[in-house]
Amino acid sequence: MRPHDLTLRALLTPTILCMAAACTSTQAPEPVQQPAQAFEVAVPGCTQSVRLMPIPAAEGVGAFWMASTEVTWDMYDAFVFAMDRAEGEADPVDAYTRPSKPYILMDRGFGHKNYPVISVSTKGAAEYCKWLSAKTGYRFRLPTEAEWMHAARAGQAGEWGFAGGQEKLTDHAWYFANAMDEEDFRLETRSVGLKAANAYGLHDMHGNACEWTLAADGSFVAKGGSFKEKPEALMISARRANDAALNATDPQIPKSVWWLADGGFVGFRVVCDGH
């Protein structure tokens, strides 16, 4: 497939949000086959916006928008600490549930502002999408695995979403070979968006935090590999199951359903279906 060529067009501000069919009608739009433009949605309670890149339809995958970066701590803190809520305001019943306060230090000391959220369970990722939808009026959700793979390829064939293959990986990804902090020799995440985007305008699809997606069988799988992994784990077909090892050392019983004591490399990004 030819790489989508609309991603660098004018970026619309949140106040004049407009997507193909969405801005002229109060009716729910029909499924969009070819989202026209990128747009931004301000995340409530923080100063950041989700930049949504149009991802064209492909065989077995409809068109949708995908966030240009992984969800950051800034965006997730607003949700966890209810920074979108006025004092005394209550959350709507049954719309979403906010995570518990994290017991351990979930950013692992790697960095926080503009760094990708990590240690997040599938429940945390899914509820975040509900929260963001309820707050903004847009339909956010986690990508399916097929959508994620399609978006990660960005028109390329094979296991890498950029030209030149694995030899060019360091230009596009934070992974074990380049994510070491020289001071303390620790593999760490990095601010989102520092590495080159793919042809759809998506950063960090390979590496940094690996990302929760919904597989065809209904299970969650993490895609893209992470800062601490070797290239094979970053390949587009690679996947990491949602298993008990991700929270084995939570010292509490019942274990947290929101935070992963051993998942300090798993985050997520959102996709959007429009209004």
């Binding site: 803190d77 600490f81 994290p102 351990i104 000391g109 020799f185 070797k230 019983i253 490399f265």
Partner: protein
């Protein structure tokens, strides 16, 4: 600068005074000097990554454990950590039977029992029968049963009395950290620990990093001289606040405070004592249990000025040692901020970086660097493995000396921050301040004012 991954061999990696050091306790020989790289740290240390999802290797999968003779265990404190400790004990030793449980609060006992009795893996070794005890009398009733081991995981305020009575009753003890919230309480546990030695009873602490294999390896390196004499330590325990729960109709002061025990000074001792004590303990570990001469500190309530409870949300502490050595602790509980839990140990010949959550266990030496590449185990289970192995062999583990000192050092930091005074070790030990009611009971419990440096007095 070369980087040595894992066990070191000749030629010496750390200079002449360190060349014979090995790590046979934790590093299998297969890692012996596996990678020595010419180039800089980036490519080098990357080779420390042993598998796809963990920088440090998980220990070999446990072999099926032989069925051991039963050991009856009682759990006092049925919250999340206590229930977790019961599961850790069940996992650690195939003979462990959960024989009794107890808590001040009935709903905690019920939920804990349900978790244990519905465990597919362990329900056959959960035999509580009618031995569930609720209220402040739960301790005495549990000690009257024929349990051999008691797990103490209630809020720390109750720990000294529990340890003393348990040792007097002839029980082996696992006591969560800290070992008390005030000086008299910690000294009570110290005395009980001496008695435990005389009786050959375990007194195992929940200072869990002492049971973590990577931490053991790096502190062993430090003690063997990998960084030379320690000049300075900087430790961070910068986290976010614990949850709090609104008061419900009908709850007494005591019940509401116990359900929010993190936030009340008398119950938890403030977060420097009940959470950051891990960092204080590692600082104490690095210093080989050397007693600090004196302590300065700052602290306050920057974010939780109007919040529940009466504890601070940040501390900065300086511990001064003989020879001009200083160690620094920064601990905070702030939301919407970066977090960090690292220990930086600076020596005359190198620096150690220790972070259990990252993880990072690294020593940068004068001529070479060392990165831990050995196995890692779940430290919460491992501490129980060691306790039960000790009970079975008769070589029991007794953590009293350093666990009491780490607790006292945390209390020292808190008192220096609360009063604004410079607290010497000798002065600390004269403290007679006992936090909380003399005889805890359901009912009214006053909330003491938030301490004010310069005005709050040492006592």
């Amino acid at each position: 600068m070369p980087c040595v991954v894992g066990r070191m061999a000749s030629p010496p990696a750390f200079g002449t005074d360190f060349g014979t050091t090995t790590m046979t306790e934790t590093n299998p020989s297969t890692y012996e000097r596996r990678d020595v790289i010419k180039a800089g740290a980036m490519a080098t240390a990357a080779l420390a990554v042993g598998n796809a999802f963990a920088q440090e290797k998980q220990a070999e999968p446990a072999q099926p454990k032989p069925k051991l003779p039963p050991i009856k265990v009682g759990l006092l404190g049925c919250g999340g950590r206590g229930t977790g400790a019961a599961f850790d004990a069940l996992q650690a030793d195939s003979g462990v039977v959960i024989h009794a449980i107890g808590d001040i609060l009935g709903d905690r006992v019920k939920s804990c029992r349900t978790n244990l009795e519905t465990s597919v893996e362990y329900k056959d070794r959960v035999k509580i029968d009618d031995r569930e005890f609720i209220g402040f009398e739960a301790l005495d009733r549990m000690l009257a049963t024929d349990i051999e081991v008691i797990l103490l995981a209630t809020p720390p305020a109750f720990r000294p009395t529990q340890v003393v009575k348990s040792i007097d009753a002839g029980k082996h003890v696992f006591a969560e950290k800290p070992f008390g919230v005030d000086v008299p309480g910690a000294l009570q546990i110290q005395a009980a620990g001496l008695k435990a030695k005389e009786k050959n009873l375990s007194l195992m602490s929940g200072f869990c990093w002492r049971s973590s294999l990577p931490e053991r390896a790096v502190y062993e390196q430090i003690h063997k001289g990998a960084i030379g004499n320690i000049r300075t330590i900087y430790a961070t325990y910068n986290g976010s606040p614990n949850a709090s729960f609104a008061r419900k109709d009908g709850q007494t002061d005591m019940e509401w405070q116990v359900r929010n025990w993190f936030h009340f000074l008398w119950l938890g001792g403030d977060h420097i004592v009940e959470q950051a004590c891990h960092s204080v303990d590692k600082l104490n570990w690095a210093m080989n249990n050397q007693t600090p001469l004196r302590c300065w500190a700052v602290g306050g309530r920057a974010q939780r000025a109007d919040g529940v409870g009466n504890i601070y949300d940040h501390f900065g502490v300086t511990y001064e040692y003989k020879g001009g050595v200083r160690s620094f602790l920064q601990a905070r509980q702030w939301e919407n901020c970066p977090t960090d839990n690292t220990d930086y140990v600076y020596g005359e010949k190198g620096t150690a970086f220790i972070n259990g959550w990252g993880p990072s266990h690294v020593i940068k030496g004068e001529s070479a660097n060392w990165v831990y590449d050995g196995p890692s185990k779940n430290m919460y289970v491992h501490e129980h493995e060691e306790m039960f192995a000790g009970i079975r062999s008769g070589k029991v583990r007794n953590d009293t000396e350093w666990a009491v000192q780490s607790t006292l050092m945390a209390i020292m930091g808190r008192m220096a921050a609360y009063t604004g005074e410079v607290i010497t070790w000798e002065k600390l030990l004269t403290s007679t301040e006992v936090l909380g009611p003399a005889v805890p009971a359901m009912g009214e419990v006053a909330v003491t004012p938030v301490p004010r440096p310069g005005y709050t007095k040492f006592s």
